[in-house]
């Protein structure tokens, strides 16, 4: 659970996290946005399915892998939020998209 400190006002962008709409400050990482919006996990692990949240925030631990704009295995802490980004939990190992 995180909050922004006062006087940190800035432009916002609209995100879709787990199909819900959120306004978050521009310039922050996707991992920061997910924490700010109060989510209790970013993924379930492929091995045991246990939930994880971002751990190192600096691209080392790979615990924040998420499916971002339809692409799985993205390091949420290394990507900046963009207008209308869609962000989803990653459930277990990434799946290949099925041909339509």
């Amino acid at each position: 659970m995180f909050r922004r400190i006062e006087d940190s006002g800035s432009d916002t962008v609209t995100l879709w996290i787990d199909k819900r709409e959120f306004q978050v400050p521009a310039g922050i990482s996707v991992a920061a946005a997910v924490l700010l919006c109060g989510f209790d996990k970013v993924r379930n692990t492929p091995v045991s399915g246990s939930p994880r949240l971002p751990y190192c925030m600096m691209g080392i631990c790979f615990d924040c892998l998420m499916c971002i704009d339809g692409v799985p295995n993205q390091q949420a802490c290394q990507l900046e939020v963009r207008q209308n980004m869609t962000i989803e939990y990653q459930r277990g190992a990434a799946e290949l998209p099925q041909p339509e």
Partner: protein
Amino acid sequence: MKQHYELLVIGAGPAGLAAANDAARLGVDVALVDEQKTPGGQIYRNVSRARGQLSNYLGKDYMRGNQLVVEFQQSAADYIDNASLWYLDERLEAGLLIEGASRFISCDQMILASGAQERPMPLPGWHKPGVMTAGAGQILLKSAAMVPQGKLVLAGSGPLLLLLAAQYLRAGVAIEAIVDTTPASRLIKALPGFPRALGAFDYLLKGLSYMHAIRKARIPVYKHVDDLRAEGEARLEAVCFSVRRGKAAREMRIEADTLMLHQGVIPNTRLPLAAGCDLEWDRQQQSWKVSRDDWGQSSVDRVMVAGDCGGIVGARAAELQGRLSALQVACKLNKLDPDQRDRAATSISKFLNRHLSLRPFIDALYAPAPAYQLPADDTLVCRCEEISAGEIREAARLGCVGPNQAKAFTRCGMGPCQGCLCGTTVSTLIADETGAAIEDVGYFRVRPPLKPITLGELSGS
């Protein structure tokens, strides 16, 4: 961005920025590659954007980084930002993933300034949501002006834990408790280093000022604790530990929404390993580091290392090492003759020694507690593949002589972090279980892709 540079500097922390600045000034055709969108590394993360109250909370040492950034922005060096280095080999071909497309660039010389990462602190429940590193907490403050809400506990040992507490207190963040895992015996072990540390008394004063701020705010501090655990069902609910009182031990349970862990930092050796650099075990710092000479020359002819990846030195010393490496590269590229190089290096080395005089004291005082170097059997060691300390020990008993064999047996270190979060623990566990010297046990190999990359990105489409 060109296809080839005389010098590529990897990492825009203090070492990389200083190296790029000085190399550019010496007439070297240089580019600085970094994963972030703004220069500064983790220590000066986002410093060029920090303003108002946030810069007061983070403090002067942090804001000082802006000088390096401004100097870099005015330099002739190219800046390749937002670039993930997903491929690197001994020929110094660097595969960069930028905005969803991969590109290769090459260089004559490379300075790797990949910095540090937090020392893994494996303890029961460290993978649960609600537990993160103290560094992660600080990065959220620097990069997003975010602070924890709810009940916060800081646990572990080391200067960063105290600094973060002081920064949070300045920002008005409530801290439920600070749980110090530094063993009681450490102070005596650190004393021989104290006289030399007085040469860097400003660091010692800073440490004391953080402790003073914590006392003044009446934050409960539990010292020399054992059996630190993060407990809870789906997520962290409480931080549990035992406090020794004479011969009796008292069990403590503190309800918490967020636990930030820290037990020092260790060199980030992933990129140097990919470039083929030899590592060595640093007994004083209890970590692997890149072997280097005083200029930063690694075991690979065209690769220098500067800053924390060659052994933890801290931000100011890293900057000076970056400058020394730039001098040596300029000399190798015939922009300077050895006399000019040596003259320029004299004053840099003097300052460097002053900043390094603190290390023996700090390294001994905050050496990691044995319990989190050699965790209990049921503690998860490899977070990616969810391998416990017991499974690593079992692999060692079955005859695995090193981490790479243990990886094949158990999958530890086979996940996406490629052992960044378990490697040091795995080497230490195998050495302990087999009785072999850790230098003989060795470390994980690293292989590209160093970062997740899709086939589409690889093909540049």
